[in-house]
Amino acid sequence: MADERKVKILVAKPGLDGHDRGAKVVARALRDAGFEVIYTGLHQSIDQIVQTALQEDVDAIGISILSGAHMYVFPTLIQKMKEVGLDDVIVFGGGIIPLDDIPKLKEAGVKEIFLPGTSLETIVEWVRENVKPRKVTL
């Protein structure tokens, strides 16, 4: 039954940032919570992330970024997702992100930003509430 399929999440590390501890811990927690999780590995260009999201037909993309490039990465990602018709894929993220950048990121279309110290439970719960399987367009 199509609407009972597992929610599929892409956890991605954009750019050159090598800090993958958070991304991997979150990816594993989401997998343990019953979601289908794909982890891109490090050093992905934004185009590569969008391509993977398309091919894997994911319901949400979680971006982990600790390099300070978030104000470039998130808006560019969302723009490129729109261009290929992935408007309804939810984008969330976490990392080293100053508080006053958060409203700007949300305005750009990021659904939620999780800061250091967020519990895995909070993230899992949020995904459960906010990410539903997308309707497959034929």
């Binding site: 490039a69 006053d100 250091p116």
Partner: protein, 570 residues
């Protein structure tokens, strides 16, 4: 496990027997009664690495303890008490704050400020594109230029960064790995322009590629060619740059990626063993290059475990160098190390509390006998530190050095039953890992099997779970949480203009240089790279003198060496 050597043990059998007997009485008469009325806070107590702790320690816990064998004297084998004869009574540790951001001009200004407030050595932080050997105009560099450190494309940037800073008077540590050969070449060429020849410069390149594959994940080429570049630096400096520390064998990143203290210790030493074998294989005499290997550790929040780790590390390295490799020069037995307080222990919540965390960690590093120290700033879970935050972090070191009086006595915790027991524990557990890695054929082979990577991923997950179920309390995060807060501190913002300015400068350099010569030298570099026996340092120095960029040099080698891809274990 150390066997009990009765003759040299400091404790007589009768004394130990009497202590055991008295302790049994105390447990019967006092302890049992007490805990039946007031149970202890937890059923079991552990170190952060998961070593179970007793209530207290007595001579019975270190019954084989042999002062001369296990500790010795400061500056003598096995160096448990410290590598220098007078330690901090002679000279305090070097205050070395890792810094760099934005443009070379901004970084030059920050370095001059740090030197003016009593810092005694520089430590360069580079931005991500530089760390990966890419130019500021590389498509993958978008949004990251100048963000996590200073942007460096060509020698021109180095000339600006060191403008007015005498390179014969300071030492500089550069946190740089795959492109270490390029940055070292730039440092040499820049010093040359100041009239300082390469035999007079002093400093460190991190140049530790093994830990990159294990933990920090800054790589360009596959493991073998990566190690070849490490080797070229070691061989070149051994012959021409005698005051340069050629590898900073780093546990810091291994720990920050989630390893326990025991894993940090074990994997770092296993990396060190691999690098010693590499030098020997390159035809060098062990006593000619080993004294120029230094180490870099993390100092986390479990105070005594960290101190025990530092003491065990020195003793283990001394044994490895003397007994395994037969080094004769006492300086080869030395483990000199830099310490940074644990970035991953800091919290975004209630950031002022981070000053306290950093102080505790810094104190552990000093009691553990570090040679240099970086103290993190309170605001680093939010962004790069502001000048004010860096000042507090720097002054923390001065307060420990000058006000606490801990620097007056060498290795002051030696002889504590607990600290000696824990030092033995760290050593014993680290040897177990090292032996396992040796069975795999050494660290390079272990990395190819994904062994240390998977171990760390496991530990990182376990650590997070311990926080989730509150076995591990972090103030402000899972206990003593304050509702809604305003961030009480200023945050540093790197101007996005940096990217444009940097690309403009790079283009200008490219217009002005002798491009035909650069192209010819790049071809020579590729040819040299194809011959495994060639040392790539001399030609790289020539290239940077001609203002070839880091991206051009590293890019040329990609054509020969290929690129490494993340195996993405999670």
């Amino acid at each position: 496990m150390k066997e009990v050597e009765k003759e040299t043990s400091m404790f007589k059998e009768e004394v130990l027997k009497a202590i055991r007997k008295e302790q049994e009485r105390w447990e019967r008469e006092c302890l049992n009664k007490e805990i039946s009325i007031h149970p202890e806070r937890k059923e079991k107590f552990y170190t952060m690495s998961g070593i179970e702790l007793k209530r207290f320690y007595t001579p019975c816990d270190i019954e084989g303890f042999d002062y001369l064998r296990d500790l010795g004297f400061p500056g003598e084998y096995p160096f448990t008490r410290g590598v220098h004869t007078t330690m901090y009574r002679g000279r305090l540790w070097t205050v070395r704050q890792f810094a760099g951001f934005g443009t070379p001009e901004q970084t030059n200004k920050r370095y001059k400020y740090l030197l003016s407030i009593g810092q005694t050595g520089l430590s360069m932080a580079f931005d991500f594109p530089t760390l990966y050997g890419r130019d500021s105009d590389d498509p993958m560099a978008r949004g990251e230029v100048g963000k996590c450190g200073v942007a460096v494309d060509t020698l021109k940037d180095f000339e600006i960064i060191f403008d007015g800073i005498p390179m014969d008077k300071i030492t500089t540590s550069m946190t740089i790995n795959p492109p270490a050969f390029v940055l070292l070449a730039m440092y040499i060429a820049c010093a040359e322009k100041q009239g300082v020849s390469m035999d007079r410069i002093g400093g460190t390149v991190q140049n530790d590629m093994l830990k990159e594959f294990i933990a920090q994940k800054t790589w360009i080429y596959p493991p073998e060619p990566s190690l070849r570049l490490v080797r070229d630096i070691v061989v070149f400096c051994t012959k021409h740059v005698p005051k340069w520390n050629t590898i900073s064998i780093s546990g810091y990143h291994i720990r920050e990626a989630g390893a326990t203290a025991v894993q940090e210790l074990a994997f770092t030493l296993a990396d060190g063993i691999e690098y010693v074998r590499m030098g020997i294989k390159a035809g060098l005499n062990v006593d000619d290059f080993a004294p120029r290997y230094s180490f870099f550790f993390d100092s986390h929040m479990d105070f005594f475990e960290e101190i025990a780790k530092f003491r065990a590390a020195r003793r283990m390295w001394a044994k490895i160098m003397k007994e395994w490799f037969g080094a004769k020069n006492p300086r080869s037995w030395w483990m000199r190390f830099h310490t940074q307080t644990a970035g991953c222990s800091l919290t975004a919540q209630q950031p002022l509390n981070n000053i306290v965390r950093t102080t505790i960690e810094a104190l552990a590093a000093v009691l553990g006998g570090t040679q240099s120290l970086h103290t993190n700033s309170m605001d680093e879970t939010w962004a790069l530190p502001t000048e004010e935050a860096v000042t507090v972090a720097t002054m923390t070191q001065h307060i420990i050095a000058h006000e606490s009086n801990v620097a007056s006595v060498i290795d002051p915790l030696a002889g504590s039953f607990y600290v000696e027991w824990l030092t033995d524990q760290m050593e014993e557990k680290a040897w177990e890992y090292i032996n396992k890695i040796e069975e795999m054929g050494g660290m390079l082979e272990a990395i190819k099997l994904g062994y240390p990577q998977k171990e760390i991923t496991e530990s990182a997950f376990r650590y997070q779970q311990m926080m989730e179920n509150r076995e591990l309390i972090v103030v402000g995060v899972n206990e003593f949480v304050l509702p809604e807060y305003d961030l009480p501190i200023e945050i540093l913002k790197v101007d996005p203009e940096v990217e444009r300015v940097q690309i403009e400068r790079l283009n200008e350099v490219r217009r002005k240089r002798d491009n035909a010569k650069v192209r010819r030298l790049l071809d020579d570099l590729k040819d040299a790279a194809k011959d495994e026996k060639e040392n790539l340092m001399p030609i790289t120095i020539e290239l940077v003198r001609e203002y070839a960029s880091i991206g051009e040099i590293c890019g040329a080698l990609k054509e020969v060496f290929g690129e490494y891809k993340d195996p993405a274990y999670f």
